[in-house]
């Protein structure tokens, strides 16, 4: 499925969690792994094990 981390497209397995998506994002971008906190598009903090669904946007810093 396709999800978005910091507005960057990330391809990840079905059933992935927020931390899986961010790890994939970091690996693809060559960044050190980031373990949270993570945020949704409204700026709410989400848990690392928040289930991802196709098209969901998450962020590693609180979106303004």
């Amino acid at each position: 499925m396709i999800v978005y981390v910091n507005n960057i497209t990330v391809r990840i397995f079905m059933g992935a969690t927020a931390v899986d998506a961010v790890r994939r994002y970091c690996t693809d971008a060559g960044l050190p792994l980031c373990e949270g906190p993570f945020y949704d598009a409204w700026g709410n903090e989400i848990a690392a094990d928040s289930p991802m669904s196709d098209g969901r946007h998450i962020f590693t810093t609180r979106p303004s």
Binding site: I12, R23, T27, I46, A47, S53
Partner: protein
């Protein structure tokens, strides 16, 4: 004249005092039973202030602790604790299905409270007693609570398909529209959902008749409620971190005001009686259960990794399985009994197993790339063998040849099914085109399933990697 003045006074009195309704909401407790005792204290304190309050769960009560999720009646230990605290109602979460319809039916029957979900349709044979909604009356105020469960693109909730077999599911947003009539039957209308915050936003836009959504699923920490289209949306992240106190002022069947506050449960002392119940739950012999007997000492970590890979491959029913050496947390294992506790010592991570298809070339690339971020050694495999060199000047190994377990060379162009854990899936560079599907089960669960079918195992000396150091 006197009579009419009296009636007017009664009328005025009737409208002068609004009723205050308190509803406590929590979601995604995920069997994190160490949090139950603090929740009990918090609820007790809230009940002293508002004895008529409602305590609601937005689902995913279970799944997250072997103390709760295993045994003869998976999930039931959590229901017992919820009965003790005095829950009034729960929505179904996707994880309520994790042990199949029979286990869910047992839990619902064991609960002193009802479960609601308007878009879930079990067949009669399942014996699952589920209602679409429930109407409570508190201090003369009628409070309707409608349950809704998420379904994904496959039309099922996020659970293993085998565990929901024979149960019908409909789109929760479409189904919700059929229950707008509840507004006329209630003074307060609550949607108790397990949809995720983003879908709750959409629901609020389509269902302004609701006063509030007590949501779950996305593990979102919603500070003091999010007002969308006049509907107050709440969620308490997960695992007993918070509880939401929803307060509504109701007068003559109308909600005058509403507010939500997030109460951090870390600030409460553990209730002693509940803590004792939790300890009792933990004292069950589950972890001591012997799964198999190890025939001879296993002196090498790689051999233990091969056993783990065999378990994952068996569980996922794939051609090949890969386990990274960093995921094998014991170096040796002595001959004798192998218990559930040993399995969790060997794999304490709880990473889900992902099934995918990959070409032979992609599988060899995964094996090489894993070593770029796991410096514990060459990955362990099942269903195949490989030879590799570890160049002096490189942190990555290079595979020189590889074959299936029967000796057939791995064809770089052929497609194979592969099982691998979610951590490797997310952290290994250049993964296959097929991103895979989580089996919704972790490595330890696969090992338990694999080992309990074998009275005796012998992995002494098992090695599937021939490593040449340059």
């Amino acid at each position: 004249m006197k009579k009419s003045i009296l009636f007017s006074l009664i009328g005025l009195l009737g409208t002068a005092f609004a009723e205050q309704i308190t509803i406590l909401g929590i979601n995604d407790m995920h069997a994190n039973i160490d949090g139950v005792a603090r929740l009990t204290t918090c609820v007790k304190q809230e009940r002293e202030k508002a004895p008529q309050l409602l305590l609601l769960s937005a689902g995913d009560n279970r799944t997250g602790s072997p103390y709760v999720d295993s045994g003869d009646h998976p999930g039931a230990a959590m229901i017992q604790l919820m009965n003790h605290i005095g829950f009034d109602l729960s929505a179904l979460g996707n994880h309520e299905f994790d042990s199949g319809p029979a286990a869910l039916a047992y839990c619902i029957n064991a609960a002193d409270f009802d479960f609601v979900s308007a878009n879930v349709f079990p067949s009669d044979k399942h014996g699952i007693d589920l209602k679409p909604y429930k109407i409570f009356e508190r201090n003369g105020v009628r409070i309707g609570v409608l349950g809704l469960l998420q379904v994904d693109a496959t039309g099922r909730p996020d659970a293993h398909p085998d565990m929901c077999k024979g149960i019908g599911f409909l789109d929760p947003l479409k189904v919700a529209g059929h229950y707008k009539y509840l507004r006329s039957q209630c003074d307060v209308l609550i949607l108790l959902t397990h949809l995720g915050f983003e879908t709750d936003i959409e629901l609020a836009r389509q269902f302004p008749e609701a006063d509030a959504i007590i949501g779950g699923h996305s593990h979102t920490k919603v500070e003091n409620g999010h007002l969308e289209n006049g509907v107050l949306i709440t969620q308490t992240q997960n695992k007993f971190k918070y509880l939401t106190r929803l307060t509504l002022e109701v007068e003559n069947g109308k909600v005058l005001s509403k507010k939500a506050e997030l109460l951090p449960l870390s600030g409460y002392e553990a209730d002693a009686e509940t803590a004792a119940m939790v300890e009792q739950t933990k004292a069950q012999p589950f972890f001591k259960r012997v799964l198999s007997t190890v025939k001879r000492d296993i002196p090498r970590r790689e051999s233990l990794g091969c056993m783990m890979a065999d378990a994952i491959r068996s569980c996922a029913e794939t051609d090949i399985a890969i386990v990274n050496m960093g995921g094998v947390r014991l170096d040796t294992f002595a001959a004798g009994p192998l218990s559930v506790a040993d399995v969790y010592s060997l794999d304490p991570f709880g990473n889900d197993i992902v099934r995918m298809t990959a070409t032979g070339q992609e599988i060899l690339r995964i094996l090489e790339n894993i070593t770029a971020h796991d410096d514990h050694g060459a990955p362990c495999v099942s269903g195949m063998n490989y030879k590799a060199v570890w160049p002096k000047d490189s942190s990555r190994l290079r595979i020189t040849s590889a074959s299936l377990a029967d000796g057939t060379p791995i064809n770089p162009e052929a497609r194979y099914t592969l099982a691998i854990n979610s951590y490797l899936c997310a952290t290994t560079a250049d993964m296959p085109a097929d991103a895979g599907v989580s089996l919704k089960t972790d490595g330890a669960a696969c090992m338990i399933k694999f080992l309990e079918t074998m009275p005796e195992i012998d992995y002494a000396g098992v090695s599937r990697v021939e490593l040449i150091k340059e």
